[in-house]
Symmetry: C3
Subunit: 339 residues, 3 copies
């Protein structure tokens, strides 16, 4: 029911300025009420400083003089805010124990203090670490290993042989370990290639709702430690993603592409198959990545939004852009010969 500001200072490493007080919640600075703590990172919110109703603020040292309430002083208010939020709002945890309405193979092992909800189906030889949570109506197929402190929301499917590390968070509707998409043409039709790899997920990975990660064709599909995947992302067979890479919603990454560490990939990005993306690459939203990226930096594609009327005119010209360029070259030659 709240923590004292001094305690929050101690636990976040921020410096307390002003009187101690009880903090019961967090809020945006414009909406904060008594009992709340808010933070200012972006100077554009400084206008709210004087009139704030928050009981305390998290700010940079340079804003202290203008701060009318007790404050936590830190060089990185957003990080301190996240730490405070984690202290005030610890992750929800279901009571440990196995629901009598879960169906669990006799050969599966569930660790101490773990929770398995109603409707869960767990197959043979599954091993679940301690303090894990398996949400209602999840299905965990054979030979899956799930680490300790990992939380799986309801209605998740984990295919046979998948490994999930410690401290992961997997949201509802996720499908891990469906078959990769591999076929060979035989006459007019297609013959399925068995997908015999697995899915390996590192520690501290978060996977958003309805994201799908396919099992490998031969090799495994591997998600590194600390990777954060938003909702509705598609990761194809044999993809590897390096540690601490962050991928926003609705991206699709095709087979056997390898993405480095510490990358930041915007929403709706597509990456074609068999590419190498080096470490620390940023890719802006909706980019279509069709070549490997060997240098860190920021990459983009797509075209800018316009009114439909303007866009139509410009877009029509795009279909003759090559011709236009040739006409310009011709003009240049004419001009030159006229010199």
């Amino acid at each position: 029911m709240g923590l004292y500001l001094s305690e929050l200072a101690r636990q976040t490493g921020a410096r307390l300025e002003g009187d101690d007080c009880l903090i019961e919640g967090i809020a945006e600075i414009s909406a904060a009420q008594s009992g709340d703590i808010a933070f200012i990172s972006n100077p554009k919110y400084l206008e709210h400083l004087a009139g704030t109703s928050a009981s305390a603020l998290i700010i940079k040292p340079e804003f202290l003089d203008d701060c009318p309430v007790p404050a936590l002083i830190t060089a990185n208010p957003r990080l301190a805010y996240a730490k405070v939020a984690n202290l005030l709002y610890p992750a929800r945890k279901r009571e440990s124990g196995i629901s009598s309405n879960a169906i669990i193979s006799a050969t599966a092992k569930v660790g101490n203090s773990s929770s398995v909800a109603a409707g869960v189906v767990i197959y043979d030889n599954v091993v679940i670490g301690s303090n894990a949570q398996i949400g209602a109506n999840c299905v965990i197929e054979e030979d899956v290993i799930i680490g300790e402190n990992t939380r799986i929301s309801p209605n998740v499917t984990v295919g046979y042989g998948s490994r999930i590390g410690d401290g992961c968070i997997i949201h509802s509707g996720v499908v891990l370990g469906a078959d990769g998409f591999g076929f060979v043409k035989e006459g007019d039709s297609y013959l399925k290639i068995p997908q015999i790899g697995n899915v390996h997920i590192g520690n501290d990975v978060e996977i958003g709702a309805n994201t799908t990660i396919d099992r490998g064709a031969l090799e495994n599909t591997v998600i590194g430690h600390g990777v954060k995947l938003d909702n509705q992302i598609q990761i194809a067979h044999g993809v590897t993603i390096g540690d601490n890479t962050v991928i926003s919603a609705a991206c699709a990454i095709a087979g056997s592409t390898h993405i480095g560490r510490g990358c930041l990939i915007g929403g709706l990005v597509g990456i074609v198959e068999h590419l190498e993306i080096t470490d620390n690459v940023m890719i802006t939203g909706r980019t279509m990545v069709t070549h490997s990226i060997t240098e860190p930096g920021s990459y983009s594609s797509s075209t800018p939004m316009d009114t439909t009327a303007n866009w139509r005119k410009n877009s029509a010209r795009f279909r003759r852009l090559d011709e236009l360029a040739k006409r310009v070259t011709k003009l240049e030659k004419t001009n030159k010969s006229a010199d």
Copy 2:
């Protein structure tokens, strides 16, 4: 078992011309058989008028002279058709009652005449209004409120604290209230920001299969009354969508973006975070919206399809478009100085 044309006229407000007859089904005009009613809205289908096998048609007054069968006359045949279809094909309704194979908390309340199917898991303090339907294997977490006459298809997950209005339709695989995607960098890795907002859905909202709507970080994610969302849409934390806005499949809307009322958003549209889209905006398919839109109207991006061979040539020129423009400017200067 069918309704008389006179009854359909009465209930839709259309004018009956010709003899009354029993109507048992609806069909496209080219496929309609005896007993069916069809409609013509688009003049290009008028060619089917003379030879139709339908027992009746829904048409505009100006087509009456050419109509060989009884007709419902109305200025808006498509709307009358929808009303007729709703009369002939009322929404499917499961028998009311709670399945003995549903797992329901003792503190949850389910309204009169509601139906809760097998495999459903309902947590503490959930309140479900009267005449609602919860499909098989749905999971409804703590403190959710679901309005009356709302129908939820199988395999839906509703996260704790979500509110769903009256008369909503939620299709299978939908995930409401998964955590928003919020992290702060701490060294090389990312610290999760607790997502403490909820999801609030208005009345008469339809949500398509496998669409995901995340809970807010601080504020709530809010979907207005009458909003229609197609399949596989991703709505991030803190998004708000005004009443009666319609969004087609596979769109992704990033965090804290606010969309007005009465907007029409095509399929595969992306909208980046923290934007304001005013009321009555139309956005065509595949547009990437990177700036706020303050004026109603139609907006677009993307480039036109072509043969791959042509597209390659034009697309290569796009990478030097800035240079091309500078070359044109130089030519203009040369020409001017030559005058």
Copy 3:
């Protein structure tokens, strides 16, 4: 526990060169160990030939002289490899029988040797063929027909009236037969149009995880024989897809569009409504298809990736492309009149 190379030759129609040996697994040539068979289709992997640890290789006749191990010789190593893989790794099959934890209507019929897992809910009048598998927590609504040898992974929803052929594979999270997205404006709000068609899936169709196929508005949504759909594809109401068409992940196909046979559609492709795409069309990744395609061939759109800095400059010019083209035309006229 493995098959002899001579047996693999016999069953694939390849020619055995060298000594017979026991093959226990398949692997990529660079990772293959003793007991493995690998294949080389792409000449760029020939460098691995001399030093391979594989017990046997599948190669074209022209590489035989350089092959240090026993080999299966064939004109199409990739196809032979797929056949070998299917022999060594037959599809996983659950024990036949109906789980005591499945909830099955008394009017449903399940064929011989079929398997229905725990948590499955099957409604009235469903008919499931012999040797089929229904994964845990699937929901099969009324009047669905599922063919023999069809395998459905966990957490799939099959809406009422759907028909699925023989030998299909349907991955987790798939939703078949949700309502199509059809509304008519009535004042400021939208009236739902009942969706009275069904979903019909042919034989030998594979449908990837979290893909959605809506029921038709009036007509059925029809997926032909041998169609392969990757993950997270959206197929709207009334779409038809011809036999042996292959569609990669994250595509969205809008209502009433008809796609021919033998098409290859890359990832993230969008196709707008009411189009006709003829047979044997290839569409490259991320293309937005806005017009019907009447000629076989390859089609594309989108723009190339660049560094964000370069892209910004070029992209800004795109908004004035029409003006640029007019300026070039003016220059051409000036030049001509100067002649």
